[in-house]
Amino acid sequence: MTYSATGFGSQDQNNAKVLQVENLETHFITRAGVLKAVDGVSFHIHAGETVALVGESGCGKSVTALSLLRLVPNPPGEIVGGRILLDGDDLLEMSQSEIEDVRGDRAAMIFQEPLTALNPILNVGNQLSEVILRHTKASKREARALVLDMLKRVGISDPESRLKAYPHQLSGGMRQRVMIAMALLANPALLIADEPTTALDVTIQAQILELMRDMRDQTGAAVLMITHDLGVVAEMADRVIVMYAGRIVESAPVRTLFASPAHPYTLGLMRSTPNLTTQRGELSAIPGLVPTLAALKDMEGCRFAPRCAFASQKCREHEPPLENASNDQSVRCWHWDQVLASQVAV
């Protein structure tokens, strides 16, 4: 329980790296050829830390999340390279039964749409008890007691009667609470949340985000949060990783990233999102479109170059490496110093 007292952050260097991903490559083998959905992604998360993985549809953020628990449908998807270390154990080396023991126990996942993620023909009680019965030697009675306790902790009113409810009988916010309860039952070291509030209304989203913050503080789990919503990022994350077209383009502590984004794409995302102070006419869109994975095959140079205001000839010919802009900020851009300088001028 030391975590709840001290707050969280990457600054706590004593914390062990719960998750370490090295050079992850997930490809989809299709008739159109090999599509590199995740192309050499490396990052880590400490205990008690929340890392947000941000990007637009098709950038590879969800495939990254699914790859972590080896949930990418195969075929067509295949993890072709890299290492995924959970507390030092390489998940990619594990047998099928070993990885199944990890899922729901040492690492759990919360999905965007709880109605499709929950089993429609199992009631809440049985569905949640299953997690405990699967991973521990607890009896049914003990499992039921643990489930009841967890339902109370995630703020479900009248939990006894909810045990008999089926997912379709619950509201969207309630279902997401059930999902969170299910994910936390086994007290996982790593919690992956894939757009957990995107399907919810804004007042319910606020409830669920608050619950997730409380639960993170109570359990000290490492959290990977996948989202496209910069507001949610600002409220939840300690560190942010921005992905574009299968690659990490920037990684930084949340305050650094919002105060001084070093990648033109990050800057563009922020300037194209209205917030509560944006005046009319201030919103500047990123021109063009996210490249399709198929189009990337023939692409040399930086993947963002066709949409980038800072792009030079070098950018179109050579892809930049991910390099450090400062101690804790890394960026994949030849011109990150210009990107930072451009913000000082404004």
Binding site: E56, V202, Q207, G231, T277, P287
Partner: protein, 361 residues
Amino acid sequence: MIEKGHQVNPMGQMPGKSGDELLRVTGLKKYFPITAGVLRRVVGQVRAVEDVTLSIRSGETLALVGESGCGKSTTGRLLLRLLEATSGDISFEGKDIRKLDRRQLREMRREMQIIFQDPFSSLHPRMTVRNLIAEPIAFHGLAKGRSEIDEQVDRLMETVGLSPANRNRYPHEFSGGQRQRIGIARGLAVRPKFIVCDEPISALDVSIQAQVLNLLSQLQRDNGLTYLFISHDLSVVRYISDRVAVMYLGSIVEMAETAKLFAAPRHPYTSALLSAIPVPDPSLERAGRVILEGDVPSPSNPPPGCAFNPRCQFAESRCRVETPKLRPIAAPDGTSTQVACHFAEKIDLKGVGPNVPAAGQ
């Protein structure tokens, strides 16, 4: 049937004089029956729209915000008679829309268009872009002959930022943002005065949302369009709209100028809604955040009295019996806001935005 007036101005209609009332809605209701059994006996009613009264001025953007199921999209469809209202009046430029016959309605549809949320399901997949955009032009007889139609299609495609070279492609060959541009071009094709934008950017990626928002603003400026902008995203609403109407469970609970609504909300639901918006600024500590408990009640079984009372921290016994009417209340600066709350004058609510200092400052 083409009225003479429409042939005069080649680029769109005469923009109405800015500020005149274009549309007035009074006491609008829409109940959907709940049926049961083989005889489809009516056993109840979903009160999707309970009581909506509003007016839209020519050239302005009125935003209709609320959470899913509050009736905002139903209201948008009722205004265009894509759905028939249960009761209430809708008058567009003084004409009672609900009394129009088929032929008159068809003419009226030239003036009023809708842009849908989902650019994937709202375009016919087997029609080319050219045909999709030409359809409303031909249907309303706005051009003579193929070449004139093609000319207009090309010009519309350019207007919305699509290359006319792609006119023979099919919707699936375009991205979401481009498809939404096709939908906008279709809406513009008949040179309407009024467009209902039903969550036009919700299905789009963040970087594309700004492109479409800017396009809608541009088109409004160039053509003097009037928008009803339906959205659940308050940051977007704040950016694009002149006035905002907040809906809860089928009724408007507050209506005010945008800046005022955000800075000084007068209804507890508006305040809670604003407080729930995640703000993309990690340095901002938000004190006194209101997190609403519970869910929106079912519109088939609304609570007695004020629909918001079960979730309202200010609710008193009167709120549980008497439904508050939308009424004007005076603001300190002499202007007025419409609010449906018994205690709007007494309660002290927090707003958001540049005028509101962060915690402890």
